[in-house]
């Protein structure tokens, strides 16, 4: 939008009597001037010309800094917020080097296919549309056979994604002999996407890449680009397994941006009930769309995206039955690629004015400039928030981002602490490349790619001192190989380990989830059979069980049959006024106690646990009102998973005392209160941990035991939801003090009388109506106080 119309709209928006009372905070991020640097003196004249033709006669400071670091031969990571000219950070030094060395090659990795297609267009511009002798090819699942050969043999820059590298390129490296022999650079863009399980896999794919490159005698340098996160250097180092230095200063100019914190009105302060995030976000988005403002709305889950999109379309349809000038589309994972491409095109060419998206669009897909972003609920990480809000106003000028807080403790905590929000990013992205599931998967792939020599390791972990790390890596690799030998899939002979099975291991290993098997969703409406999406098996058990309502592209389907054995789910289209939500029961068994921390009276244990989850029944919730209109049974086998957990033991010392715990065990009413206190405490810690951990609350599981069968004391379990763990439990152990302090603060600030969705929840009200909420709240507060004192010395 133009500057004046934007200012007018925002002024009217903020002073609207319906909106103003809900605005908790307005942060005006001023425009910032660029910090310039001269073009590098050694830059090829052709590149210089190419830049000039795009009106570029100088660089931003961070672009110049990356150029000189790359040219010095360093591995580096550049922090590049949206629209800061990040592509030149790597394109310039890489293309320059490729011009100097005619045989040199580079590999560009993007987390998604769509991004690589954008990138190829961008590179063509840098490479002067083919005038320079630098051929660029995209090599992914969509590349036709005829182009694959050319990409391998003549591609100077090959653009791909980690999945393709994993299952297409590395297992066939001999066909890429020219490429690998001359591989000088690897560019890893959108690095912040490589966290959690995906990042843990990608770290191992890079280990394999380095191993294959070394086989052909090359040692490529790495350039990482990342959104703003708390630990770019650390994450890059963990991904690469060698030290990577970071450029965190950014020299790009920035348009003025308004970030508004919007807290939906409190309907009942005592019970802490607020108007729903979904309907409030819908209301704001509709208002913007009707004012002619292109708007993107981000929601937390696929289901919410579909719900909110349908609400918006409904709201607009009432007023615009005759003209469909405002078109709004849902956009999320699980759509077919062609559906997604069509939406991206619509956004760019202006035929779609609004989009409701999961975080799939937060990555840098170029959808053209949008004017406003509405973020329905804190997206789980600050990096995501900034990426999402950055979608508004990519082309500069004034832009607006509205965070609509949910009643979740995390949102309420953040909305009350703008200084924390707008201060330095503190959250850290974590991966665990040594997750045994992930590591074993990639040992198989690596053994398939090249036989292991005696004493050879897949990679050294960068967190240890060089000598020690190599020894440890070698012994872990040897252990893994020994294990695979017993399984009969590698053979040890003549001082080497050879892959000795008929399969093609990477085919069965998905980088995106811990389990490779997906359930295919088939629409059988009218006797047909059309694949409309897929879902990983554990999620399928909780989302598309028999009689569940599945929403796809605004259409409702009911599940006829989820067939886990055949990995298929048959649905038919059906108009219903409700959606479904599974009630999941969780059992935990402690497998190992690897590390114990004892601070004053409070202990924690880090270890492996077996988590057994079972969806037993489901609720039917009416659209709009979200009221519960019935239950149904689910009969599916339980899902079992081994993972890492941090277990807080609250049996002794001041924490135990404040919980009213005594070794002998208490009587009826007291134990109900203790259960409520423990669960409130666990819930709040669980919900606030993502403020520090850079993960989604859904990446963490929780459970509380008043008298834990393993430890014999009250215990709170917080565990990683991915098999084998992704480092969250270890991360939480270091940040426990902060999380406890934040939890105590949130609870103390909460207006409710005896628990509400914004603090310790109200679950206990269901279980025992006897329990007095205000007493529970008081005890949880005391418990946090005690824990905080106990953990005061840590972190």
């Amino acid at each position: 939008m133009t500057q004046t119309s934007a200012t007018d709209f925002i002024e009217a928006f903020l002073s609207d009597p319906e909106i103003a009372p809900c605005v908790a905070h307005v942060e005006r991020l001023p425009a910032r001037d660029a910090e310039w640097a001269a073009l590098p003196t050694d830059l090829d004249a052709r590149l210089r010309e190419g830049l000039a033709s795009r009106g570029i006669g100088r660089l931003y400071s961070h672009q110049a800094a990356s150029y000189s670091m790359v040219r010095r031969g360093e591995d580096l990571v550049v922090v590049t917020p949206t629209a800061s000219g990040k592509t030149l950070c790597y394109n310039l030094p890489v293309v320059q080097s490729l011009l100097e060395e005619p045989s040199a090659r580079a590999l560009y990795l993007f987390p998604t296919k769509a991004l690589s297609q954008d990138q190829q267009a961008e590179l063509k511009e840098v490479a002067l549309g083919g005038a320079l002798p630098v051929r660029v090819y995209t090599y992914d699942g969509d590349t036709p056979d005829s182009l694959r050969v050319a990409a391998r043999d003549t591609g100077r820059i090959v653009i791909s994604n980690p999945d393709m590298l994993h299952s297409g390129v590395l297992p066939n490296h001999a066909k890429w002999i020219n490429f690998f022999s001359n591989l000088r650079f690897v560019v890893v863009d959108e690095m912040h996407a490589y966290r959690g399980i995906f990042g843990s896999h990608v770290a191992n794919v890079l280990r394999r890449l380095l191993r294959v490159a070394a086989f052909y005698g090359s040692r490529p340098r790495f350039i990482f680009c990342s959104a703003t996160i708390g630990n770019p250097g650390e994450l890059a180092t963990a991904l690469l397994g060698r030290l990577v230095s970071a450029i965190t200063e950014n020299g790009a100019p920035r348009g003025e941006r308004l970030v508004v914190f919007y807290n939906p009105p409190l309907l009942d302060p005592v019970q802490g009930i607020r108007k729903s995030t979904a309907t409030e976000s819908e209301k704001l988005a509709v208002r913007m769309l009707r004012a002619g403002i292109k708007t993107i709305l981000f929601a937390r889950s696929r289901l919410r995206v579909e719900l909110i999109a349908s609400y918006i379309v409904e709201a607009l349809a009432n007023r615009y039955t005759d003209n469909g000038r405002i078109k709004v589309s849902p956009y999320r994972g699980g759509l077919l690629p062609s559906e997604r491409r069509a939406i991206e095109r619509g956004l760019r060419d202006g035929s779609i004015q609004g989009v409701v998206s999961t975080n799939s669009l937060e990555l840098g897909i170029d959808i053209g400039g949008l004017d406003a972003a509405v973020i329905a609920g804190f997206p789980g990480s600050f990096a995501s928030f900034w990426q999402q809000s950055g979608r508004a106003g990519r082309r500069g000028g004034l832009s607006l981002a509205v965070l609509v807080a949910s009643s979740a403790p995390l949102d309420q905590y953040i909305i009350a602490h703008p200084e924390y929000f707008f201060g330095r990013p503190s959250e850290k992205a974590r991966i665990d490349p040594d997750n045994p599931y992930v590591f074993m998967d990639h040992m198989k792939c690596a053994a398939f790619e090249l036989p292991f020599r005696e004493g050879e390791a897949l990679a050294a972990s960068a967190s240890l001192a060089a000598g020690e790390a190599e020894g440890k890596a070698a012994s872990e690799s040897a252990e893994a190989l020994g294990f695979l030998e017993e399984e009969g899939i590698v053979r040890r002979t003549g001082g080497r380990w050879y892959w000795s099975a008929a399969g093609y291991p990477s085919e069965k290993i998905s980088l995106r989830s811990a389990t490779a098997d997906n359930v295919v969703i088939v629409d059988t409406t009218g006797g047909g059979s059309r694949v409309i999406g897929e879902m990983d098996r554990p999620s399928a058990k909780e989302l598309i069980f028999d009689n569940a309502v599945y929403i796809h592209m605004g259409r409702q389907y009911i599940v006829l049959k989820l067939d886990i054995d055949n990995r298929s789910c048959h649905v038919v289209e059906k108009d219903l006024d409700y959606w479904t939500d599974a009630v999941v029961k969780t059992d935990i068994e402690v497998l190992t106690e690897d590390e114990r921390g004892i601070v004053e009276g409070t202990q924690f244990v880090l270890g492996d646990v077996l988590v057994r989850t079972q969806a037993e029944k489901f609720k039917k919730l009416r659209f709009h009102s979200h009221e519960n209109i019935g239950y149904g049974e689910i009969s599916l086998p339980p899902e079992e998973m081994q993972t890492r957990a941090i277990i807080l033991l609250l049996g002794s010392g001041s924490a135990g005392a404040s919980l009213g715990f005594d070794e002998a065990g208490g009587e009826g009413a007291d134990s109900a209160i203790r259960a409520a206190v423990l669960s409130g405490c666990g819930r709040l810690l669980h919900d606030l941990a993502p403020a520090f951990l850079m993960c989604d609350p859904r990446d963490l599981g929780r459970a509380e035991r008043v008298r834990d069968p393993h430890f014999g004391v009250p215990a709170i379990y917080l565990y990683d939801k991915y098999p084998g763990g992704t480092g969250l439990s270890e991360g939480l152990a270091k940040l426990l003090g902060k999380a406890v302090a934040a939890a105590r603060e949130r609870l103390a600030a909460c207006s409710c009388s005896g628990g509400c969705p914004s603090c310790i929840g109200v679950d206990f009200a269901d279980r025992a109506s006897m329990v007095d909420g205000s007493l529970v709240k008081e005890r949880v507060l005391a418990l946090f106080g005690a824990m905080e004192a106990a953990h005061g010395g840590r972190s």
């Binding site: 297992p171 066939n172 074993m440 252990e479 893994a480 093609y504 054995d565």
Partner: protein, 412 residues
């Protein structure tokens, strides 16, 4: 990472086993691990597994000579069916060209230069972890067809094994069945993995010609099928290809594998069959009109191949004959051929002979629009075809055609 990797792996394995067991109660899925090979024939005497290996090899290596460390070889003699020369053009005019390969062979090749080549491997999907452990190379020698086989006894001998193959193939014309997609790329990969220079040999891949000549008649074009149906050879004993990797794995792990000798004869039989199939196909290409009235091969496929070779008259005769017997594909090829030659009268005649079908409607619609200028009839046929379009892409193309015709007719 905290925790003892070994112990964690043990636990994972237990969990995986339990899942596997649970699954096998329901739907059975192919296990990732090699299954033990069923024992047929005499079981090895207990106690001397592995021992035999050190002492000159297991039973199945009797009659084989040791060429080097872990590499064995033998020669078998068969009857020779090949003539003195072969014309490679009909085989190479169609089908997949090897990446980076020049147009290939020009004139006739003396059959003495041919090396019939087939690999047995540890997997069918290729990739750097798939190894060839058995190779057969057939050639004409002193009036016989001689098959020399090479056997890799275990992984560490691979470089030597590959070197033997390279020296046997170097500078010759390599004849394969699907070798352009499988055996030759795999051989190149094995060279790279062992630091050897990949061979530079001309080649003939018989698969493409065989497909055109026989696939539609026999419902397939696997070498085994054509060997039986076209050459009339029944093998006494054979193994399904899918079992072959596990037979070798079972040998390297257990020291013997009772079915290995069957795999070895399978491999030799394959190149014998390949040579005879090449000879048979060459015969067809030499005198194609002898098959004018025959139903034992696909005259349309043969006609198309001859068209590609510029042997127009023979091609037309075969295609017309096939069309006369109601072969739709032949008619469509002819129609396009006549269009390119501007022979519209012939095209009209051919289209009149085509049976009613979506494909013929499309072809007739084009003819009506561009030659007869009868847009209304063209539209009717295009709409008919659109209603039964069988792919998304075709549907799209037909939709455009219908729209254009409607515009021409002023119907929009």
């Amino acid at each position: 990472m905290a925790g003892d990797l070994r112990k964690r792996l043990e636990r994972l394995r237990k969990l995986a086993r339990a899942e596997e067991d649970a699954r096998s109660l329901g739907l059975s899925r192919a296990s990732e691990l090699p299954e033990p090979v069923p024992l047929e024939g005499p079981a090895p005497a207990s106690g001397d597994r592995g021992l035999g290996r050190r002492e000159g090899g297991p039973e199945f290596l009797k009659g084989w000579d040791k060429l080097g460390d872990l590499v064995w070889s033998r020669s078998l003699r068969f009857k020779d069916y090949l003539g003195e020369e072969i014309d490679p053009l009909p085989f190479n005019a169609i089908g997949r060209r090897r990446p980076g390969q020049a147009s290939g062979l020009a004139g006739p090749v003396p059959t003495g230069r041919l090396r019939f080549f087939d690999l047995e491997t540890t997997g069918l999907s290729g990739g750097s972890g798939t190894v060839a452990f058995l190779a057969a190379i057939g050639s004409r020698e002193e009036g016989d067809f001689v098959v020399r086989q090479y056997f890799l006894e275990d992984y560490p001998g691979e470089a030597g094994f590959v070197r033997e193959l390279l020296s046997a193939l170097e500078g010759r014309t390599v004849v394969t069945y699907n070798g352009r997609s499988f055996d030759l790329p795999l051989l190149r990969t094995r060279c790279v993995m062992n630091g050897l220079i990949p061979p530079r040999a001309e080649d003939i891949d018989c698969l493409f010609a065989a497909r055109r000549l026989w696939k539609s008649v026999h419902g397939g074009a696997s070498l085994g099928l054509l060997e039986r149906e076209v050459l009339g050879i029944e093998r006494e004993e054979d193994v399904p290809g899918s079992m072959i990797p596990d037979i070798w794995f079972s040998y390297i792990k257990a020291g013997d594998s009772p079915l290995m000798d069957v795999v070895m004869s399978h491999n030799a039989d394959d190149v014998v069959a390949l040579a005879r199939l090449l000879a048979r196909a060459a015969l067809v290409f030499e005198a194609p009109l002898s098959w004018l009235a025959s139903a034992s091969l696909d005259r349309a496929g043969l006609g198309r191949t001859l068209l590609a070779l510029g042997r127009q008259e023979e091609a037309e005769e075969l295609l017309e004959a096939a069309l006369g017997d109601g072969h739709e594909g032949a008619g469509l090829v002819l129609s396009r051929h006549y269009r390119r030659r501007g022979r519209e009268a012939d095209r009209r005649r051919v289209l009149g002979m085509l049976p009613e079908s979506p494909r013929s409607w499309i072809e007739r619609s084009k003819f009506l629009e561009h030659v007869e200028r009868d847009n209304a009839s063209a539209l009717a046929l295009a709409e008919l075809a659109l209603a039964s379009a069988w792919t998304r892409r075709l549907e799209e193309a037909l939709r455009l055609r219908v729209e254009r015709l409607r515009r021409k007719l002023g119907m929009t």
